[in-house]
Symmetry: C2
Subunit: 635 residues, 2 copies
């Protein structure tokens, strides 16, 4: 073999070597990995250049972005924010009351929740467009999860306290996730999960509300019902038709409330069975610190509810904030937003509010009304404050059926069948995730739907790891590039050489699969060659370009593959292994087994070296090597 | 822009196009994906060429490999198998009795379990080296999981019935996994998990047994204890020293049993407090069909125990089978092995056996004794049968302390600190998985250890997906290849062009991270260029070679990145996207947004095209394009 080796070395002298990375101290690697994982946005970069007092100001500005933008606040901004703020307040008041009813909480909580949390968010939030408030899905979740243990009708006080406690825990969780930089947990709720989940929740809420509405038909004339429903449905349709109807659409809920209340007031329908909101206490949020239930057994229910609703609310709020930030081209720091959401919910739980986040509908109205900064939230909070102080008696005669209609109208917008269709068109598995979440919520429960969707999403990721794609590569004519033969029909295979591309990291979950798959590729290729009477196989080149990571099982698999190929008198050649692969091959001594000479920078160079040896053997004097005679070599 | 486009088109005319794959019918893709996922080994390949009667024989041979190898069985094979079979029987009898005690089951069950299951496996198994029997870890798990609900001492009959039922469910699960081709579930128990788990279980068992042994010291002279312990420990050491001591080592347990029994018999130590096995019923396995507990509430415990022990036993058995198959260069079909294990445990549960698998120690002895086929299992079963029929009275005086020593000696071999050290050296996360499993088992429970290890393993996979590596690529001098600049110190960056490699599929779990990371790379690069007074950035090339898969969140991320770059007046260029990426970019219309002209086969061609335009702009007449004046272009 001495001659072959020499010839081989001559042939590959031009080839590039793949270096083994110089070992770095363990702590070094560990720290840099930790940084990449938890601080990918490098939040301290801006502090590094500053010092002393400036650094403190920077830190203050980091946690309270209001100090960053307030100095540049202009009157023009204020005018825009004022209009936007009043617009969202007119939406916030009826929606707040409706959603509080949905959560089986006293309606006044909806107003309280539109007062304190927006003020906190205005100071701490980094979004300019997010309008803070309660959301239907979280309200529904709260009702369904707390309702399992405590009946809102039989023990209203305990139920209320548990709602505050759940809000408190949700806030603590949100802030902790932000502080611990675990924001990526929220990323595991994919867009498709949320589409399906929201659609399912909306369907459930609509059916619930419709039941209530239809139940009313026996007690009263259905004129107002039909009119309200019609007006609501027309609003929904109009709101989809563009900005012409925007103001009408935004004002619809408040108009419905006013009209509905007037009809009841003058017709005295409340004495004929039409349920109305009834008395609302005047005055601002009472403190609720003493109402937190921090002892078992009820604390556990509140804790669980807080966790689930907190994550859901976070996912919605951050997705909404990111979407609008993208439209306006500014950056949202996910972890910072989480801290703001957490602080606003903790503050809320101490002032008789329940879970708030950034609802999509309200934020969209805020954005369309031309808001410039978080001041629109302040304006909304002030409008709600005035309502709390002076206008609560006006809601006495508001019929519940109007609230139901408001909920339904908001809910119908959440059933995003177009998004579902898009998912089907682009990615079938995402569609399955979406439908799984939808069906889970509709036929199971909100939690079942959520768990189903997250499980399917994670299973998809795991399946990708467990069953990576492995394909045969061929040479693209007129280039040195080797690409998948199923993707590039023109790619040509090389006689005597089998080039395989591995498309995933090699982990315990796929090491066995890959080993078996490689042996099947070789068997199939040998069968094919035998049938066609072509040259036999001599080299198996593995393109490791996409193998970004490898674990000990993967290393064993490489070792075993090398052995298996040796028994078949085939040479294993690696092309383009990454630094992690090289490092681990080296530290496990598998590199010595494979031979550093058989590792190339590119598939092209690897094929070149293989061809060179095949040539040398054919043209000449080297016959020791088993079955290389009569070889149809490739130029 | 007309001129730029023309110049650009001229420059890239030589470049290769990346085709959009022709759409295939949904059912087609679905079926081929299903096949890749569940039938990667193409088990029907061998049937395709056959027909009629031959096909039936093939199918019979598939499920009962004995029909495949039996016709070629020779006398030489039998001589080897006879020796190996007798050797493993001499190990199986004392180990069987010991492990049954470990599982808190009557000792005779250990003998029963070495009779029926090996016969079933000999017919159905595809391994030539696996010796079937009970294992310590599964025995321990059985005791710990069943023991939580039913006390083996207070309700021995119920406990026994539950053990049979758990075995039955384990067998059904194993066979189902094989038939449903879900063998990859076992792959999620990585090698590092098993090393840690086994070590932890071995530690717990040793401590338990030592307690028993040390407790005995007060009752009797410790001569025989010390001698047995010494002999056992010396055996362990010897067995590590190679094949010279092999026979001694293999015969040690039986020798200890015989010596221990003789000592007790002649010294009447059983009357001085040394516990002995006592009476063992003569006769073969009684049927136990009627003893299966198939009604709640106890069924659920048995079901859960069966699931957990079944998976563990499967993982051990298949790993052992694969290891020896690799030594001898034959193939083990994982799914077929599962069916064999399942059948052997279902048969076992009906004939008074408890959970069996292929223990490493016994299989290693089998292999070392020179076994040729599964006939060695038949010989062992026959030897155990003879023992059951005639020799059970001999075990009456066997002291339990000998059994404890046998267990400890087997357990010490399971604490594979060398493997743990290897894990630490090669892969720190695998080491954490291993230590997690170990500590979980030692300080928590067997289930906690297992769950910890599997969770850490899966978290690692998820973290890889959530935080993929994204690196800057540079040109390797004298080549068209672009590689990671941190891996290849010689790689050179291209002025005006930022080349980024994405090392993972783009999924919901990492889409946000990647978007932010790309923007940080660009910001850092622009900062760097500004500080050095170099050319500004014009092109961002994403090397998509390792992006084997993308979902709808990933597609949105691409769209948003394109928009974000546009606002910064940067051009997004893609290099080497795979067929799935191209298909989804196309079906979601994002391909139109990016522009098919900006997608290249290789990074080299993409850089070439970018440089060509930068040149044309510099040398000439094209000034419309924002900030391209005074450009220091690259040749």
């Amino acid at each position: 073999m001495g001659n072959t080796d020499a010839a081989y070395m001559a042939g590959v002298e031009v080839a590039h070597r793949v270096p083994v990375p110089t070992p770095r101290p363990f702590l070094d690697t560990f720290c840099s990995n930790l940084k990449e994982t938890f601080f990918p946005d490098d939040p301290f970069r801006q502090f590094k250049q500053e010092k002393g007092g400036r650094r403190a100001i920077r830190a203050l500005q980091y946690f309270f972005p209001i100090f960053e933008w307030a100095p540049n606040y202009t009157f023009n901004f204020f005018r825009a924010d004022l209009i936007a703020g009043i617009t969202i307040a007119s939406l916030a008041i009826p929606q707040g009351i409706s959603y509080a009813k949905l959560a089986n909480l006293p309606p006044i909580l909806g107003l309280y929740s539109s007062f304190v949390p927006p003020l906190v968010y205005a100071m701490m939030g980094s979004s300019k467009d997010l309008a803070v408030g309660t959301v239907a899905v979280a309200s529904l979740l709260l009702a369904s999860m707390l309702g399992k243990t405590v009946s809102a009708k039989e023990e209203p006080a305990l139920y209320l306290h548990l709602a505050f406690t759940a809000t408190f825990f949700a806030g603590v969780l949100q802030a902790s996730l932000g502080l611990l930089r675990l924001g990526f947990i929220v990323d595991f709720l994919s867009h498709s999960t949320i589409v399906g989940f929201m659609g399912g929740a909306a369907t459930v809420v609509c059916l619930q509300q419709l039941k209530g509405i239809l139940g009313l038909e026996h007690f009263t004339t259905n004129t107002d019902l039909v009119s309200v429903l019609e007006s609501v449905f027309s609003q929904v349709h109009q709101s989809k038709r563009g900005s012409l109807f925007f103001w009408l659409s935004a004002a619809a809920p408040l108009t419905s409330v006013i009209l509905g209340s007037l009809v009841v007031y003058f017709s005295h329908a409340e004495t004929h069975g039409v349920e109305v909101i009834g008395h609302l206490t005047k005055g601002l949020n009472p403190p609720s610190l003493t109402k937190l239930t921090l002892s078992p057994p009820h604390m556990m229910v509140a804790l669980k509810t807080g966790m689930v609703t907190g994550i859901i609310a976070l996912a919605e709020g951050i997705a909404v904030g990111r979407s609008f930030a993208m439209f306006k081209n500014y950056h949202i720091d996910g972890n910072k937003e989480m801290i703001a959401f957490g602080a606003m919910n903790v503050a809320g739980s101490l002032t008789s509010c329940y879970l708030t986040t950034g609802p999509f509908s309200r934020s969209a109205v805020n954005y369309n009304a031309g808001c410039k900064t978080a001041v629109s939230n302040v304006v909304m909070a002030l409008a709600v404050m005035i309502t709390l102080l002076f206008l609560t008696p006006l809601f006495h005669y508001t019929p519940l059926v109007v609230l139901a209609s408001i909920i339904i109208s908001a809910m119908l917008g959440l059933i995003d069948y177009e998004a579902a269709f898009h998912l089907w068109k682009v990615d079938k598995i995402d569609f399955c995730v979406c439908i799984g979440a939808y069906l889970g919520v509709v036929f199971g429960s909100v939690e079942i739907g959520l768990v189903t969707a997250v499980m399917v999403s994670i299973l998809r990721v795991l399946l990708f790891i467990a069953r990576p794609r492995m394909t045969m590569l061929g040479n693209i004519p007129n280039s040195m590039a080797y690409r998948r033969m199923d993707q590039y029909p023109g790619a040509q295979s090389i006689p005597g050489v089998l080039v395989l591309g591995i498309d995933a990291p090699i982990y315990f979950a796929n090491a066995n699969y890959l080993r078996e798959r490689i042996s099947r590729w070789i068997n199939e290729e040998e069968d094919r060659l035998r049938v066609n009477g072509k040259t036999s196989l001599h080299y198996v080149i593995l393109d490791m370009g996409a193998v970004s990571s490898i674990d000990t099982s993967g290393i064993s698999m490489m070792k075993e593959t090398k052995k298996a190929l040796e028994r078949k008198e085939l040479q294993l050649v690696l092309a383009n292994p990454g630094s992690e692969v090289m490092k681990k091959l080296d530290s496990s001594k598998v590199l010595e087994t494979i031979g550093h000479d058989w590792i190339f920078l590119t598939v092209g160079e690897a094929v070149g070296a293989c061809n060179f040896i095949l040539h040398t053997v054919k043209t000449g004097n080297l016959m020791e090597n088993g079955g290389v005679m009569g070889l149809d070599s490739h130029v």
